[in-house]
Symmetry: C2
Subunit: 396 residues, 2 copies
Amino acid sequence: MNEKMKELGTRRSAIRELFEYGKKRKAEIGDENVYDFSIGNPSVPAPEIVRETLVNLLTKTDPVALHGYTSAQGDAKVRAAIADYLNKTYGAGVDSNLIYLTVGAAASLTVSLTALLNPGDEVVLLAPFFPEYRVFVERTGAKVVTVPADPETFQPDMDALQEAITERTRVLLVNSPNNPTGAVLSEQTVKKIAALLCEKQKNYGTAIWLIADEPYRELVWGDVKVPYLTNYYDRTIVCYSFSKSLSLPGERIGYLLVSPKSKDAADVYAAVCGAGRALGFVCAPSLFQYLIPACLGKTSDLSVYAGNRELLVQALTAYGFRVISPDGAFYLFVQSPEPDANAFCERAKGLELLLVPSDSFGCPGYVRISYCVSTDMIRRSLPAFEKLAASYGLPT
Amino acid sequence: MNEKMKELGTRRSAIRELFEYGKKRKAEIGDENVYDFSIGNPSVPAPEIVRETLVNLLTKTDPVALHGYTSAQGDAKVRAAIADYLNKTYGAGVDSNLIYLTVGAAASLTVSLTALLNPGDEVVLLAPFFPEYRVFVERTGAKVVTVPADPETFQPDMDALQEAITERTRVLLVNSPNNPTGAVLSEQTVKKIAALLCEKQKNYGTAIWLIADEPYRELVWGDVKVPYLTNYYDRTIVCYSFSKSLSLPGERIGYLLVSPKSKDAADVYAAVCGAGRALGFVCAPSLFQYLIPACLGKTSDLSVYAGNRELLVQALTAYGFRVISPDGAFYLFVQSPEPDANAFCERAKGLELLLVPSDSFGCPGYVRISYCVSTDMIRRSLPAFEKLAASYGLPT
């Protein structure tokens, strides 16, 4: 057997471990007594257009066509609709023939990484980062190199990034809005990153790909803009999922696209198709492919998350916690009152608060709080947070 | 970029290549003028219970629960329903905690192989075999070893199998009913295989896993029985998909199970969970997970395929072709009238007949004809088959 896979299956991600603990704990003491902030499972229902379109497809389409294989890269009309939407909305300059529908964002990433990487290659991650990135990269035989963020702004430390990129760097993987901090890469930062990558490519004579993992693109608060990366750097792959914007995380539907501005786009897209094939994806679920055209630009009622964010930021700050004020996504990054975030999370667990320690995100000393939960649960959880703060004697 | 992936994406499988050619050709000369026997895309609609259950789930279930993440291994109640069904129907002795829901059969296989294999390991395949097996095995760094079939019965050559299994053999992958021949492994053959594997394990002091790829389990004709392999050999993994039995190939829903009779079942199941995680599967599509309990033991109207088989076997035999008379699946394996099956397929293409040459199945000199198509198309295609036979001067 493969011992590495056994280890990955035995020692689950800290997030999944807590999610499973939460399920068990709820069965023991009742759903209403556990404050589960562990996982990014949207609490706001999918917009009505999702149900309407799915029921229409099921009742008015030939089931043989509806449930049959599509092309491996996804239905051509669906890909055309996505390209149209992105070009109109972001002036993204993308080509439907370079879009590949996937079984969600994780698949977008494993397919992209498998297409690009060989053993010994390096992938640069900006900490803090979604812990599964490390699993996805290392499975290909490539190596993770991490770059810390500025602890005040959570924008990347550009000097450290400059040093981290070597002639072995094949990919810089960015995630904006970010899981776990909610930070959005500003246009200024994106321009700096693009210039740096161009310079490094030229110096080393190599190809460096920028992979943008964007499941939280629509989840931004206030008037924050998320730059569309194909407009800034040619060798870009955008990975997208409808999990968060349409509240469909269990359905596994997303896409990736290779920017046509890169001169090796056709070859990389072929490698993407090859990787999808080798990993066993065949095609993205067909019913959910056909749902996409009706839902482009639509979202669940995201204002609920904005309200949750306000509520939590205000309360936790009042209790004395240091909270990173996020621009997007639906996570709060909170500094642990003691250096060991794991110990802090264990104490929180004693109050039935399920928070994820930040160690596996490559940035120890914090916890991630998913606020894509019911507002009611947040309200009911506040006394526990207050008690937790008091137990550390935090200044209120 | 990864050159191997680029190659896999550029030189598609012979089946997919022909499927894409068929789509283009139909657009050029009209659907009704192309006789597309290329792919195993069921032509019989899903049974009504599929539509009914899906619409019910969509209209009567909380969308947050319906579309939310499930546990990575799949919803516990769905897994329990599958275990119950298999234990009642086949006395399979399986355990719902060792079932893992997947995004279809290809995923069942890539996850199992990734769980079990390390570079340098060997996987034995019984030729002819589904060509993607080679892709799935080689991606893990393991090596394919092929064993020919008896050219009369298409049961495996047991002497050759005995020689093929070495101390590096980790997996024997079988597929019954078989794609492309339709052959079913008889109980007698299964017992011989099990005895051989036990002996080899003992001699070498190794663990050898039997992986049964069974998407065609329900597609058998006459009173043929498909032995359930957990009843014959302990170290068994069964890979299943609802693609063919319920006509849902585009939806990507299936499962794998590790037999609890194996003493290392828990470790291998952990490796399965780790492999699913590392390959980016997250969970099987949730709506289709929840569909499963209502559909266990149900199938599309498979009698249509039985009729298609009769029609084709009789006609092709009458035209002078040598047809392997299949027990199951929905493929016909037909001997090429010239040694080079590719040349034969090119000639067939000239008559708008799309047949898959057998070379990539590890058994040159034949073609695969998928008869999961409309009976009407088969009827209309017969003059072209007759012309094809006549062009070779076959004896009628």
